[in-house]
Symmetry: C2
Subunit: 550 residues, 2 copies
């Protein structure tokens, strides 16, 4: 055994406050723009830690936040874990029953809540049937308390203690330090715990070029919400780098985002594709100076190639496609170009950039098909398995999920991917949606995208329906444009698909529906369709509904 | 406790071999230039691991290397630790009795040795009085074995097994993986062990901008020997980044270095100041294309400002001053400019660049004077204490040194430093050389440098001589230029020093000597002088040999 010091978060902030005391932390807030420095921030973090002591919050408590992206929320990012507690960021956009489940499951002792989200939290806390029993205190992120049924409640500025120093404990690196819940499109949300060590490792993992390449000169604005896997780890990593932070505040619209980029000279920002599509739309009608902006990291969903190209060609901004999950802290892959690829023709280059990319140094992955690891040819696909120092190997208190989702320390991601010969991963489907026909896999997402490209289709989804001989066969559900007849469209769709896919991939039936059922977060709810159509009879199955034997 | 995967070295190589299979590893060797790829290298590493199995080397063995910088040596960097053993790099330039002590203390089971170093190793192994008893096998780094008394001995190419795959074990991150000995200018060399985790953390620590900023596009040539703290961790970190490696082989001269930079398009190189002074001299007389070279990391000793400026102005190469020790894995600080400093006037900027710099993210330091932490004003100084995930907290089997060199997990570095208001560290002395006069410290190095600036002085050193009232007082030892008389020079020196230093700093005596005693590595041996002059009487002590009370 070799002696060393534990991997903990505190030294990152210590260093920023000592070496970059005047570097700024800027935030759009309910009350306008706030502006502080690492040195002042560090003192506020100490006041917060003292306040948690004064409030009797136990050292190993979980402390929840129900907040947008702003400096006070950022204060909890160091104040809570560095005193030894666990920061639990809660998604305020979830339905009440999910919030109730999460708060109960995590047994949060104290909840921080934004003024504009007090009503949502009240709604979840009312008739919560004991789910909020562990919560001993609500703190509203402002300098006063609105009329509310939350009780006991105080405002953040009154809550803070006066003492601007804190005797930070030397923590064990295995100590739990953070917690997030998966969005839970099926079943109950699953809790993922982060330790001081996993957060340290993720921070170090995303700093280098192969990660997000964060530098002291960067001005970083996380548009990705701080309740989405800790804003992809940016608040901690930007602090480690000594960069400037810009937080866009509650529910920023494209005008807010454009103004902050221009005013604060943002160099790096990050968020889901819809945000950046929205900004492009805004920029078509409005002027904004984006000249400081160098890079946008996009994740959470696939970024269209047109989006990547538009930012590069019109604004000289490089889009970095990144991939991760709650279970991977989250950043696990990024679609960096390799040395030499910069000089490729734009189209060939962009075919790499739209992929989920290259796994980060320190992690390992494999892609498992029905018969073991698939070849890296960009065509075969299987489920992505991943492991590493910032990938979890278990869910919080969910032994039944641990049985199915982990194997020998590998996380079965549930994403079905291809790997091309250069090692770039691309997601083609979710494992639960992939259609298993005769021992081979068909990507439901690819078929859906192809069908939705048809002018007369407004929505489409494809599921696997049980089949005696072939295990499953694809059936498509289509919402047609108003006034379009069914018969000819079905033939059209099959012709369209036949151009790009083998016979055995083609849906054996196309069912016309008024609308496709959706989940709370707006995704197609295939589970409902699968239950409803479990006994759907298919007549038109091809003779060989699997690839020919070689 | 939060479940995760251990931090180990193997995934770095796995990733490079899978994602950068064709990226090159080039090496100057005894037999000319060798050239391979990560994919082929990975297979050789597997053959090496199999060979160690076949040779009966135990899993938890220490395996020593006595080698220059080349690909075969690099193969041991992953082959040895990834099978679970401990890589122990031995400095072949040490005197025999140090090599004997080190090999005995580490109990190396097997030694790899370069053909050109066989004689040195033979010399140490002869009459070694049992020091080599644990060594069961010598392997010469080539394809044949020279005439030698080393026994049993084989050549590396015959030693390698045929099997190009290896069933790499999942290792505990706390498992010892590496070992180096401090150079031991006083007393016996002290062993520092590295674990899988500390090497992982150091690798991640030096990848980002705040470290050495290593990128996939970099072509990295470590001129710093691989027996000097693992070539500052570059072989592992360049692999993690997916960069190209260039190894300069046995005893490279400036012509070798210039040719490799030119031919292999090196972008980043690293070594001690003398190497880069030598290259500048060479370039004055010879042509070489250095246009690919972007950065040189310099460490091991302070780089003169003129050197930094010459590379920047004449070759557009940025010199990065870095600092570390065997105990810190080694890189712990680097003199990066902060945002905004790039536009400073060159002289002001270079005053930052000559310092040891900013401590890396993840580490913490403090500077301890006689009365606690010193202020960060660039003038006061004290001993640098440091701690963090890649800083050791103990020496191997040396409880007496652990008592004196570590306090509560902090490493007392033995370096006396100032810290300026921007947080840049600068070494002013070694702790054992600093002169303690009336509770205040005087830097012996500063006085020496000032005295040596006198035209009539060829060598000078300053030590503290015990003094009843003031504890110690400075005495200078001077070697004068031939034909220069003593008396007037002494007055000159005092006048010279009085310009820049307070009265109480001035040496109370200047002793003329024929030569100054030196250590085996060519440094002034102050210990000999201190012993000899312990009773030296000083008449000319000022009335107040300490700063005035404020």
């Amino acid at each position: 055994m070799v002696g060393t010091t534990d991997q903990t978060l505190r030294p990152f902030l210590w260093r920023a406050a000592k070496l970059y005391p005047d570097r700024e932390i800027v935030s759009r807030t309910h009350e306008g723009l706030s502006r502080t420095t690492y040195a002042a921030y560090d003192r506020r973090v100490a006041r917060l830690a003292n306040a948690l002591d004064d409030a009797g919050v136990s050292r190993d408590a979980r402390v929840g936040t129900f907040c947008w992206n702003h400096t006070r929320h950022f204060e909890t990012y160091f104040g809570v874990p560095c005193r030894g507690s666990q920061l639990h960021t809660i998604n305020p956009l979830l339905p009440d029953h999910h919030v109730q489940y999460i708060v109960e499951n995590a047994a949060d002792e104290l909840l921080f809540v934004d003024p504009s989200l007090v009503e949502s939290l009240e709604s979840a806390a009312t008739d919560a049937d004991g789910a909020f029993d562990a919560v001993e205190q609500f703190v509203v992120m402002g300098s006063d308390v609105p009329e509310t049924s939350l009780d006991p409640v105080t405002d953040y500025e009154s809550f803070l203690a006066d003492d601007e120093t804190y005797d930070w404990p030397d923590l064990d690196e295995e100590r739990p330090a953070g917690m997030c819940y998966t969005s839970g499109t099926t079943g109950k949300p699953k809790g993922v715990e982060y330790s001081q060590q996993t957060m340290w490792a993720h921070t170090m993992g995303i700093l280098p070029e192969a990660g997000l390449d964060l530098r002291a000169s960067d001005v970083v604005m996380p548009v990705v919400p701080m309740f989405h896997v800790m804003a992809w780890g940016l608040p901690h990593a930007v602090t480690a780098a000594g960069g400037k932070h810009v937080y866009p505040g509650p529910a920023p619209d494209p005008a807010d985002i454009a103004r902050l980029i221009e005013d604060e000279r943002v160099t790096f920002t990050a968020g889901v594709p819809t945000v950046w599509l929205g900004l492009l739309d805004y920029l078509e009608e409005n002027d904004a100076d984006l000249s400081s902006l160098e890079r946008i990291a996009i994740g959470g969903a696939a970024a269209p190639e047109s989006l990547i190209r538009e930012y590069e060609e019109s604004y000289d901004v490089q889009v970095l496609h990144a991939w991760g999950m709650t279970e991977t802290s989250p950043v696990a892959a990024a679609a960096h170009l390799k040395p030499g690829m910069e000089s490729w023709p734009a189209e060939k280059r962009d075919r790499k950039r739209v992929k989920q990319g290259l796994v980060l140094p320190g992690l390992e992955f494999k892609v498992m098909g029905e018969e073991g690891e698939i070849p890296w040819n960009g065509e075969d696909f299987g489920e992505l398995w991943i492991r590493g120092p910032w990938v979890t190997t278990e869910y919080f208190g969910r032994p039944e999920a641990n049985e199915t989702d982990f194997v020998d320390g590998w996380l079965k991601t549930g994403d079905v991917v291809t790997v091309d010969p250069e090692g770039y991963i691309q997601i083609v489907d979710r494992a639960k949606d992939v259609i298993k026909s005769g021992g081979e896999w068909i990507s439901s997402q690819e078929l859906e995208n192809a069908i939705m490209a048809h002018d007369d289709v407004t929505e489409a989804t494809v599921i696997g329906v049980p089949h005696e001989k072939w295990q499953e066969r694809p059936v498509a559900f289509v919402v047609a444009r108003e006034g379009v007849g069914g018969g000819p469209l079905m033939a059209d769709i099959r012709d369209l698909l036949a151009e790009d896919y083998p016979e055995w991939w083609l849906p054996d039936d196309v069912v016309y529906v008024e609308s496709i059922p959706k989940t709370a977060t707006g995704k197609f709810d295939k589970k409902v369709l699968r239950d409803e159509y479990a006994d759907h009879e298919i007549d038109d199955v091809p003779e060989e509904a699997a690839p020919e034997e070689e």
